[in-house]
Structures are given as structure tokens and as C-alpha cells.
Symmetry: C2
Subunit: 347 residues, 2 copies
Amino acid sequence: MKAIETIRWDDDTSSIVLIDQTMLPLSYRVVRCRTVDRLITAIRRLEVRGAPALGVAGAYGAALAAGTVKEKEFPRYLEKVETAARAIAHARPTAVNLSWGVQRVLSRINRSGSIAEARLLSLKEAHRVAEEDSRSCHAIGDHGSTLIADGSTVLTHCNAGALACREWGTALGIIRSAIESGKEVKVIACETRPLLQGARLTAWELKRDNIGVTVIPDSAAASLMRSGGIDCVVVGADRITHDAVFNKVGTYMHAICARAHSLPFYVAAPLSTFDPVHGSSEIVIEERDRDEVAFYGGHATVPEGVPVRNPAFDATPLELVSAIVSESGVHRPPLDWDEIARTRRVI
Amino acid sequence: MKAIETIRWDDDTSSIVLIDQTMLPLSYRVVRCRTVDRLITAIRRLEVRGAPALGVAGAYGAALAAGTVKEKEFPRYLEKVETAARAIAHARPTAVNLSWGVQRVLSRINRSGSIAEARLLSLKEAHRVAEEDSRSCHAIGDHGSTLIADGSTVLTHCNAGALACREWGTALGIIRSAIESGKEVKVIACETRPLLQGARLTAWELKRDNIGVTVIPDSAAASLMRSGGIDCVVVGADRITHDAVFNKVGTYMHAICARAHSLPFYVAAPLSTFDPVHGSSEIVIEERDRDEVAFYGGHATVPEGVPVRNPAFDATPLELVSAIVSESGVHRPPLDWDEIARTRRVI
């Protein structure tokens, strides 16, 4: 079966082509972003989401900015490209990969000597980011699959799959690699309120690849752990700081419950997700729109006038994490940040 | 403001009148059950739900059976009433109050000497059950409000409010009594997937009574606890055995997270919820329909063919419970079952 192509550059139309993840599983539709504004809309609307995919989107977005800014005078061209690229980087605040992808390409643009060179180099660098993402996911899969016993049932939250990356996935990359290596693995996908990325996206892509998956409400995970129905938890990450893993809201509660039932709790993320600079208290947790929780299919599920809290992410202290799997291997907390910083540069 | 009347007997039409809880908060509609079959449908569809309200529904249901069975020969009449009443008791398996309410009235019917007497006594006993439920809720409120500090923010799950009882509520009864006694109390209502009783019902009835309430996805509770936004957890119960509290799925995870953050975890339930007979391993956890999780407003949220687990309840071990509040007082585990059995009889 053809691999899922979550995000790619289309040379013919000089645009970024995305699978529209807001429409799955009802319909499979691709979106074509020919402008930076359209890409920002896609990022904000979560047509493309998932930390590694946002890294690729940021990289191609900066290249799109380089290709579409009309200015002819080089220094002013650079300024305008930078402004456009920064707008992409700020479209969502929590996942570090988005600004990392933008920065990767922007620094290449800034080292070029002409508009033509900036356009050429930016696209080349964006392709490199995309290819690295694929290689990272497969390496994460290979490293992580050693942690998964044959016959395991793995609980996952949200979607850290092919749809969260260029392809293959991080958490689901580990599942795919384990299965490819001959193990039997079943997945329990938490539906992941409010936007149901687990029910809609994880279930869709695993079913497509004939991997056994069962969907549960997020709140049913703990009792399933207690009854022995879960062997370990594997999730992705949007940012990993010195002291915490930022990931989809609900991750923290699964980590607490995994610890309470003595189950391993694994995080799968490329090195681009690691943030060596900030502490967890400095990270902005994106608060999304009330209507994501308060409406469904146009119907109010919360009475009018009642306030809603809708944080997109939470922070899981590293003490609750058994291991983080990156493309460079299996890291067990406490993390060796010097080694991570070295590997991050080399890769 | 007039109190919420969740369930009542209507003398003029000899029927049970319910607030249809499947329609809130979109519309306020009452349902009239003139037959046992219609009542069973109402219970199965969750038009009426919540353990204490189910106790009242069971009691009035048995009285409805006594009033509607057409048989003229007394022993055969009793048989038919018993069959109809048993069908009500089995409409949902987990909440013990339903069969308890049925049994309360049935034993009175069985001690009567004629059809006319059975009809009279059954309705009288059902009214007594309903009135006791109100008294229990207010007593639970009074006992429980001593546990709530002035200025508290209380997390609750599902709906253990007026809509889960005849009126006032158990968990929300404690909130109402605390506020009535002059304390300031705010409520965080977990939306409670899949049927959103927290978002729809708890938010609706608290807003109606001008009590401050904010709705969150179930999965956001743990991080709110960590950030200091919660002072204690108060939930209801569907059955309390020697070793566990059965309540809406998600309760167990909140109990684990409350313990992890050193927050008190309180359960509010009338003595009719206590089950002195069974151990938790004997209790059937109702598995409800796939579509409750997999569809919303007619749209598929889970891809076709992907299985779903939808347990309605989970079991929280008593070790995680700080106290259970009943109409007879505040019980701290380990429970004194002899005392509970004595009080249960006396009340």
C-alpha cells in the first residue's frame, strides 16, 4: 500500500499539498497552499497538525515565503521573507518544531546572496527537513520497537502517527516498526477530546494499514490499565524541556495512571522536539476556542454563557516518563542534555 | 426559583413525569410514562439517569406496574406485577438503587391482601421513597458541606445533581448546601464523555441556580489539579461495595490523580447506593452502544469497522476515597458495614 503523504511540496504548482485532517474520517481531501496566508490558516485550523509535521510545514512555509515574496531589492526581500516566516512560526505557540522548521530554512535564506539563490536554497533545505523527518521516524521506530514486547497492547493518546509527521509516525512509527519486525501489537486509541484526533486520525491510519485498533473514551484508560488490558503507553510530544514533556492535553493523566499501575510510559519524538533553552514554566500552553468543546456538529453541548477551559496541551514531569525515544536512541531520564545537544547538531 | 423536579408521580394521569435529560441543554422537555414499557425505554435511553433518581424511578415503576396490570385474579396479578417490576429492575445493571427502589415497593405489594390494596400501598411506598430521596440529599448536603472550605473550587464528574435525584442532588447537593450556608464555592464540571452529562446537565442545573461553573474536557482535570486550580473532588456513586465505588467511567482516573496531587476525593451517595452483599468482582459494568462514542449528531467520529469500548462505569478502590457522605454522616474508609447496615434499616 502507498504510504500516507501527510505533507509534500508540489513542484508543478509551487505549493504545499496537505491532507486535510479536519475532514477525516468522513472524507479524504487534500489542500493546496499557494500562499503563506493559506498555510497559516491550515496550521491554525489544524488541517495540518502534529509536531513533526508542523516542523515540515514550517520549513516548506519559509520556502514558500521565499518563493512568493514579490520584492526585487534584496535586503528588503529578505526582510519581507523573514516577516512572513515569523508569522508562520507564531501560528501556534506550543510545538517547538514549527519555529524550528522555519528557522532551519530561514538561516539558509539569510546566508544566500541573491533572491534566486534564496529561493533555490530554501526549497533544498525544506526538502532536507522533510527527508530527515522520514528518516527520524523510521529510526525512532527501530529504536522504540525494542521496548515493545511481542503480543503487547499499547495505549496511545491523540495522533502521533503518519498524519502527525511527513509519514510513518513517531509513537505509531514504533508500532509500525514493531509489527514490521514480526511482533504482534494491538493499539488502544484514546479518542482525545475535544477534537478527537485519536478516534478520527489514529484509528483511520491504523485501520488503513491493517493494524488492530480499538477506540476508547479518554476517561476509560485508567480502568483498562487496572484490568490488565494495557501493557504500556506510547505517546508523541510537542516540546520536551529540561523538566517536562508537553503533549496533547490528557497525556499527563495517562502518565499518572500508568505510574499508578506500574506500566511503562514512553514518549516518541524527533530531536527537533527537544527544547534545550526553556524551562516548562516559560512555555505557553495554547488555549483554544470554547466552541471546540462547547459545540459538536453545530449543536451546543454546553449551555450558553457557561465558560469552558480548552487547553490544547499539558506538561508531564520527566519523573513520570520511563523513556524518550528519538532518532538517536532510547533516552532514560534524567536526560543528558549535553549529549542531546551534540547529537542534535550532528544529525 | 422553583426547584428542579426530575421525576414525579402525576395523580391526574396516573403516570410518571420525567425531565427528558437527553434533550438538555438544547431544550427542556418532559416525558410522561403511562406504561412500564415506556418507563423501561426512558431508563435505557437515559431520559432518566443517576443512581438516586433511578431508585425513585424503580419505586414509581413498581407502583405503575401495580396500577396497570389488568389481571383480576389476585395471585396471578401479583405474578404479573412482579414480572413487570423485575423488567424495570433489569433495565440497567450497575446502579443498585434501581432494583432497590423496585424491591422497596414490591415487598409492600407482596404484603397486601387485594389488588386495590396493592395499588394503594405501592403508590404510598413509592411516594415515601421519593420523599426519602429528597431528605437524604439535603442531609448529604448538610453533612458534606462541612468538608468544603469557604472559597473552594470543587471538581465533579458526570452529573450527581438535582437531575440525578428527585431534586437537590448528592455531590451537587453538597455544593448547594455549602453555598446555602454562606460559603463561596465554584465548580469545575468535567464534560464526561461520551454522553456529556457534565457539560449538558451539571452545567445546566448549576447555571440555572446561579452557581459558578466552568466546563473542561475530562482529560484536562489532572493538569488543572497540578496548577492548583482544584481544592477537592466530589462525585456521586452508582453502587458502593465493600471494596469499591462504582460510578461513571472516569471517576477512577480522577481518584488516582487526586491522590497524586494530595487532594481530598469525596463520594456522595444515599445509603440505598450501598451494596452490603456483593464484592466488586461480581458487579456487571454496563457496556453501552458503540454509537455513543463513534457518532455525534449523525456524523461518524470513528472510522467504520473500528471497534469501540464503551463501559458506562468504573470501579474506584476505597483506598483512594477520602470519605463517603451519606444521609447518616461522613464515613471514612475502612467502612463500618455493620453500622451502615443498621442505619440503612433504621432510616
